[in-house]
């Protein structure tokens, strides 16, 4: 079963545990500046929003890469960067509409989320379930359940029944 990361900004507190887990997994140090997932703070609105690659089925980055350094992991569905092929040309960073593939100054290659091979560390590090890893066909299930509850509540509290 293919799984997807689901992000629920309502739950995010901006703690950056996800960024540390990501950088530790990939770089061996706690370093938010090298994280593949980023939490954005909208100060005036009081909102925190984690954002990362959604693993497009038909991926701009993959199509743009002139050296075929980005490939599909058939098990996880992730688009993964092959570091030995990547030449650091950054064309993928231009083609990606979401900005979720980025150049890493230290290595001279691009970096992006690879779902940690099917066990994304950001999701397990998140203390508030703002990031979860679920059945790719059911990413809207929690929102549907929430609205189903609302609908149910409304239907049992109509003026006629009151």
């Amino acid at each position: 079963m293919e799984k997807s990361l689901v992000i629920n900004p309502d739950n995010c507190t901006g703690c950056l545990q996800c960024e540390m887990a990501c950088s530790y997994e990939n770089e061996g140090v706690f370093n938010p500046s090298k994280s593949r997932i980023k939490v954005f703070t909208f100060h005036q609105e009081g909102r925190f929003v984690p954002y990362t690659c959604t693993q497009c089925a038909d991926a701009w980055c993959q199509q743009a890469c002139p050296v075929d350094a980005i490939s599909l992991n058939l098990v996880t569905g992730a688009k993964e960067v092959n570091e030995s092929s990547c030449v650091g040309c950054k064309v993928c960073t231009i083609s990606c509409p979401f900005g979720t593939i980025n150049y890493n100054q230290s290595s001279g290659k691009v970096i992006k989320c690879d779902l940690c091979g099917g066990d994304p560390k950001c999701a397990s590090a998140c203390p508030t379930q703002a990031i979860s890893y679920v059945d790719a066909d059911q990413t809207g299930l929690d929102k549907m359940r929430k609205w189903a509850t609302e609908t149910d509540h409304a239907s049992t509290n109509t003026p006629a029944n009151a």
Binding site: T13, C15, Q17, K34, H43, G46, A125, T128
Partner: protein
């Protein structure tokens, strides 16, 4: 190892910037952050110096767990000699700049001397520069933050800055980082401004690693996170209500100081409580609280993000304050609210915004206004002296006018900027200042919670709750319940809390973890990061060593056992209502046993045997 092993020394007089290796022995003896920075300060300055003179130094320091994935590992401290207290000052802050400093490769930054012109320090990993700050001198923290982000075109820059009160000599100015987190107490911001240093702006991209045993570390971190999540205080109470979860609790047990500590219960407590912050306002239907927020790495997330009703008198036509910003925590809500008899939640939130915007301590500010209110009502302060402000208990208008005057350094704000001790002395009523060693009390009345009174009296930075938070035991039953109304056994409890706290503060973790964690949870994290020698027993020894080192600093600064006491009101005027009705603080009765347990002489000095046992004397 987890320390970067490097510190920056910034000579502001000459502009010279040098790097040094961290003293290997001292980090073993004092761990990091509070302990290690205090060791450096003790070695480098004369404790008797004038805190606002060129002789004083100011140290920003992280701990070995700062910048790691350990839950709450984002803390840093500012250590200096404090101008409010003339004692050792150590103010601890969260937010993100501590971790950024560590990620830039620095355990500590030592500032010495005084710059001839206003400057700010810019750090991008090992690129470190002093740059001109003329354009931001004379402006607020929030303006400085915006200016620096624009100038460097870097939204990820982390900034700590001082506001106008610090520049104007307000004795309780703090250093605000990340817009609304603060090294808030004892006037550390006043010291920073006295050196013509406006801000520190940091971008760190090196990361924090160098762990002794990464696998053991991650295991201990994950176990620690699970304990925090499962604990009712850190897993539910603090995320939902923040520290404001305490307002109703402390009022019910009759330990909520009210109207400059004349009373111990406040009728308006619910209106300014954490629960009230979550209720829809009558005026606009929105709650005061928008969301909770975390500091770096924190899985508790007690921070409050709040708004003020746009129709509220304090922000009418001031669109700048209509968005979200850092909301009320318990100590601020108490000092601004109950201690002044003000139950207007939006007014308190506005005052709190201003304290963040211009960088001053809402506890000392609120308690100073309370002293002014008592003196005004008693006729010691006249309308002429206050510039026409009616300082009456319950007046939200007097409070909001006061905060603006202190921010701008104008009119009666110049008197309020002195803190209550000097204000009350100036107007002939020194006994009305609710302070120890010149610093105002936080939000727990020593008549209703006996142990905390002893902690206030003996705290090395003047009255303070976070040097030895016996409220955890006496009120919340953590780690075990003790009777708040009895003095029996409290000297030992106070000493234990003080020593453990010194250790936790020095690790880079947040003290709030100790609602759920004991040193049994913290030691494995430190061992994974720094090595197996960091056992529970050794951490207790380090904590006690730090406490005694701070005491030695204060003794050299001129503090005596006569300063280890509470104002007469708390020792002589009994609580009028609640469970503690009829009681006073028994601080004097507790003191001899406290000194004895500490291994101090009858006049409060560590004995030679104690100093030798702790390695503080050869």
């Amino acid at each position: 190892m987890s320390w970067t092993g490097k510190l920056l020394r910034i000579n502001l007089t000459s502009g010279e910037i040098t790097t040094e290796a961290l003293n290997d022995q001292w980090k073993k003896d004092y761990l990091g952050s509070r302990g290690l920075a205090t060791k450096y300060l003790s070695e480098e300055i004369d404790p008797a110096c004038d805190p606002l003179s060129i002789e004083n130094k100011m140290i920003m320091a992280t701990g070995p767990l700062t910048g790691t994935m350990a839950a709450t590992g984002g803390r840093y401290v500012v250590v200096t000699k404090g101008p409010l207290t003339n004692c050792i000052a150590c103010s601890n802050s969260g937010g993100f700049i501590g971790a950024e400093m560590k990620s830039a490769g620095w355990d500590m930054i030592i500032f010495e001397g005084k710059s001839p012109e206003p400057v700010y320090l810019y750090i991008e990993n090992d690129k470190v520069e002093l740059l001109p700050a003329d354009e931001i001198w004379g402006t607020s923290v929030w303006n400085t933050d915006e200016w620096l982000h624009n100038k460097h075109q870097d939204p990820l820059l982390r900034i700590a800055a001082v506001g106008r009160p610090a520049e104007n000599g307000c004795l309780y100015a703090g250093i605000v980082n990340d817009l609304h987190r603060a090294a808030g107490r004892s006037g550390v911001g006043t010291v920073m401004a006295s050196k013509n240093l406006k801000a520190v702006a940091i971008r760190g991209t090196l990361g924090v690693g160098n762990l002794t045993d990464p696998e053991a570390f991650m295991k201990a971190v994950n176990e620690g996170k699970a304990v925090l999540a499962d604990n009712p205080v850190t897993g539910q109470g603090l995320p939902a209500y923040g520290t404001q979860v305490l307002m109703n609790v402390i009022n019910e047990i009759g330990a909520l100081p009210t109207n400059n500590m004349k009373d111990v219960q406040f009728d308006g407590a619910h209106a300014i409580s954490g629960e009230a912050m979550s209720e829809p306002r009558k005026s606009d239907g929105r709650p005061n609280l928008t969301t909770n927020a975390a500091c770096f790495g924190c899985t508790i997330a007690c921070g409050r993000i709040s708004t003020i009703d746009q129709g509220h008198f304090s922000v009418k036509n001031k669109a700048k304050y209509w968005g979200n910003s850092g909301g009320l925590e318990y100590e601020a809500a108490w000092a601004l609210g109950a201690d002044n008899g003000v139950d207007d939640l939006d007014a308190l939130t506005y005052v709190n915004f201003i304290c963040n915007e211009d960088g001053f301590d809402p506890i000392t500010f609120g308690a100073t206004v309370a002293a002014a209110m008592e003196m005004f009502e008693a006729g010691d302060l006249t309308l002429e002296q206050t510039g026409g402000i009616e300082f009456k208990f319950g007046s939200a208008e007097a409070l909001t006018q006061s905060v603006e005057l202190v921010a701008l350094g104008e009119g009666f704000g110049q008197d309020l900027a002195l803190g209550s001790k000097r204000l009350c002395e100036k107007y002939g009523r020194p006994e009305l200042s609710m302070t120890v060693k010149g610093q105002e009390f936080p939000a727990y009345d020593p008549r209703g919670i006996q142990g905390i009174g002893l902690n206030y009296a003996t705290s090395n930075r003047g009255a303070c709750h976070v040097r030895g938070y016996t409220v955890a035991s006496e009120v919340l039953g953590i780690p075990e319940k003790t009777d708040p109304l009895t003095a029996d056994g409290k000297p030992g409890l106070v000493k234990a809390f003080q020593d453990i706290t010194a250790s936790v503060d020095s690790s880079g973790l947040c003290l709030f973890t100790t609602f759920a964690w004991s040193l049994e949870n913290i030691a494995p994290q430190l061992q994974g990061a720094c090595g197996n020698e960091w056992t529970v027993d050794y951490l207790l020894e380090v904590g006690e060593r730090i406490w005694n080192m701070e005491r030695e600093f204060n003794l050299k600064a001129g503090i005596t056992s006569a300063d280890d006491t509470l104002p007469p009101r708390l020792r002589e005027e009994a609580a009028k209502t609640g469970p503690a009705k009829g009681m006073v603080s028994q601080v004097e009765a507790m003191m001899p046993e406290y000194y004895q347990l500490r291994g101090w002489s009858e006049d409060g000095k560590p004995t030679d045997a104690t100093l030798i046992r702790l390695g503080l004397k050869g």
